[in-house]
Symmetry: C2
């Protein structure tokens, strides 16, 4: 993409009331724009990051047999009366012109259970797992922390359905491993811990994936050997590592980036979702649910992948692989060569942001390139062209190297 | 995808109160499931169709310089007070716990104008066009006609911003041509007409793309020579073809599948969106908006691409290119060969739905294959394997041909 055509600009003065580092960095770089507290627009660069995160999650959910669907956000209130969740405080309520009452989904048990009930009648139809990447709404009075706690946000939610509790537990473990892969692929694996947490009203425990960050809302205690953690809320139950029994280290601040939850028969029971087992007897269906907030994950990556100059995207979720920076020259040949290189890389399939702007100095371009944080910067100028080269520099590195244009592909994806 | 694993099933008895052909066909095939009137879930097969439509639209919007963003559905009511649209009847209203009033977007002028205002200040920043593929909400009392008139639906909406009315008009024509391409690529080009229509409160005219169908809600008069039409609502203004002056033929029933609209300075004026022109004077920005409902387009294709046995998807939007149908055999080698062929095609990049079910007869499989409507059916059975072949049949065709397995790729995408 030609930067001269990008409608967003680097923000010199991000909103003064934006307190969180992730939102400050992302607004400054032109990735997101705040419409109101907890409600953001994703701009061209930000949407590219979101789509890369989406694709990583999709691949890993498909790999564990998830079937992708897209369920609505408008839910009939009556379904929540069935599950006893009609009065939970973070639901947005709305109504049709004739008074029919709806809520906006902040989760989809009330929709997915009747959907699966329509199709699954026999043990032969199980196990099954459906997931979606869809927009959630949460009536948060104090939306804060940038992308960490939103009123509207894209989320992947998967629901699994099983004939037995044993089968559910096996699948739960499979999804746990898929989640570990997702956070590794997104570049925060080293800071993220599978965490034992409290379960809420109908399950004693749940499991979170917590990423260490001083901006986190949660407190955890980690076991570095097992790469697991215990949430402060159940520290009295787990004084030591639940896996190796060793000492836990902490407290440490962390943010939840994923959550997996045994639903057991809570929601299948509410809707009467049963299947015939092999003996022809109707039995309740065991369920699990598995969530990851896409924008929260984007915020988490931004929160920890940066330096004082701006963002440092991991290659896997970067909006582009290369930031090609053309330095203004009176020699028109320089611009022509830069254009040619941009087109060549693009045609070959390398995602390139091309700073082709004529009205910016080298200093401004380098500063903005650091703010945006694309993994590799390739500078093309009168000087580099003298040796048919570009200056390559990794965003997190200090030194650049002069690389022949004919050999660039060895250094970029 | 293996059909034995698909959680949806062919619906033998679609909802009795579903009146529209598109929803009946799509629910029968397991593409969509109705949560309530005008609100559907997209199931695995339906989501694949929706994604193909999305990709066609995205490519054509990118080709005309559109920059993709994703704006929120929750909008502050105060923005609608500024534009005087706070009382329009088809808005869903909701509120935060503290009473702050929001509406759910059925269009995004009230969000995109302040967004662009944040970044565009000079004539140098124009023209620009931003678009999104995002979920819209419409408080429709009488949601009906299946996917044609929904309360919640995915839509592509683009907004363009120009320094002069003349520049706007040139771009409007460019987008018009992109829309014609989209409908052609989606397989309904031959039935779709660029249509002169009324403009609403602030513009005398707008333009629709109307697809002929007896299920349509609109009435149009067509000029076959110019491939354009006039909506009945402005027939008194255009008694003849507005382009060649020839006679119009009609009335004909049609459904709107796209809409392009001159907004001029209506919304830029409401928010005070101006830019400095070349003389340094602040001037109002001219705008256009351009919409296509994705699910409506999916419904439109379903409504006209079918026969008495089920859907007939155009290749461009089909959920899969090939429906590989294995016919049960006691010879285990038949199943092994079918599996091998499925894997080979999949690895080579052909999207295949593989009916690997052991408990269905040939008759049931053929009937279900017709209902789903994948462009090419490839039957593999004991009989076909005797000549190392499959039986290929186009969904819209009567006759099949025996084709060597080694030569399948000549016949499928």
């Amino acid at each position: 993409m030609r930067q001269s055509r990008l409608f967003t600009k680097i923000e010199k003065n991000p909103p003064k009331d934006e307190e969180s580092l992730n939102a400050l960095l992302l607004e400054r770089g032109g990735f997101i724009h705040r419409l109101m507290s907890g409600v953001y627009s994703y701009l061209p660069l930000g949407l590219l990051v979101l789509k890369k995160i989406e694709q990583i999650i999709r691949e890993e959910m498909n790999a564990v047999g998830g079937q992708e669907v897209l369920m609505p956000a408008l839910h009939p209130l009556e379904n929540y009366i069935k599950t006893g969740r009609e009065n939970i405080s973070d639901l947005f309520h709305t109504a049709l012109g004739n008074g029919s009452k709806f809520v906006l989904g902040q989760s989809h048990e009330e929709v997915v259970v009747p959907l699966v009930q329509h199709y699954a009648h026999s043990y032969k139809d199980l196990p099954l797992a459906v997931y979606q990447i869809q927009t959630k709404f949460r009536n948060e009075l104090r939306a804060k922390s940038g992308l960490f706690r939103g009123r509207e946000f894209p989320m992947k939610d998967m629901y699994s359905f099983h004939l037995t509790e044993d089968d559910f537990e096996k699948y739960y473990d499979v999804v746990k491993k898929a989640y570990i892969k997702i956070f590794e692929r997104a570049g925060i694996g080293g800071k993220t811990y599978f965490t034992y947490a409290a379960g809420g009203t109908f399950s004693k425990f749940s499991h979170e994936f917590q990423m260490l960050t001083p901006a986190g809302e949660d407190t955890i205690y980690t076991c570095e050997k097992c790469r697991i953690a215990v949430n402060d809320e159940i520290k009295d139950v787990h004084k030591n590592c639940p896996e190796c029994g060793g000492a836990l280290s902490g407290p440490k601040k962390a943010i939840e980036v994923g959550n997996i939850f045994p639903l057991k028969t809570k929601f299948s029971g509410a809707f009467g979702l049963t299947v015939k087992n092999e003996e022809g007897k109707e039995v309740p269906v065991f369920m699990g649910c598995y969530g990851i907030g896409l924008s929260r994950l984007m915020g988490a990556v931004a929160e920890v992948c940066n330096d004082q100059n701006g963002l440092i995207w991991p290659e896997s979720v970067a909006p582009f692989s290369v930031h090609l920076v053309y330095l203004r020259s009176d020699d028109k040949n320089v611009r022509a060569e830069a254009d040619k290189l941009y087109e060549k890389l693009t045609v070959e399939g390398t995602p390139v942001l091309y700073d082709d702007r004529e009205d910016k100095s080298a200093g401004e371009k380098f500063a903005e390139s650091d703010i945006i944080g694309i993994p590799v910067r390739a500078v093309v100028s009168e000087k580099t062209l003298k040796s048919a080269s570009v200056e390559l520099k990794g965003r997190g590195e200090k030194d650049f190297k002069l690389v022949k244009i004919s050999e660039i592909k060895k250094y970029v994806k």
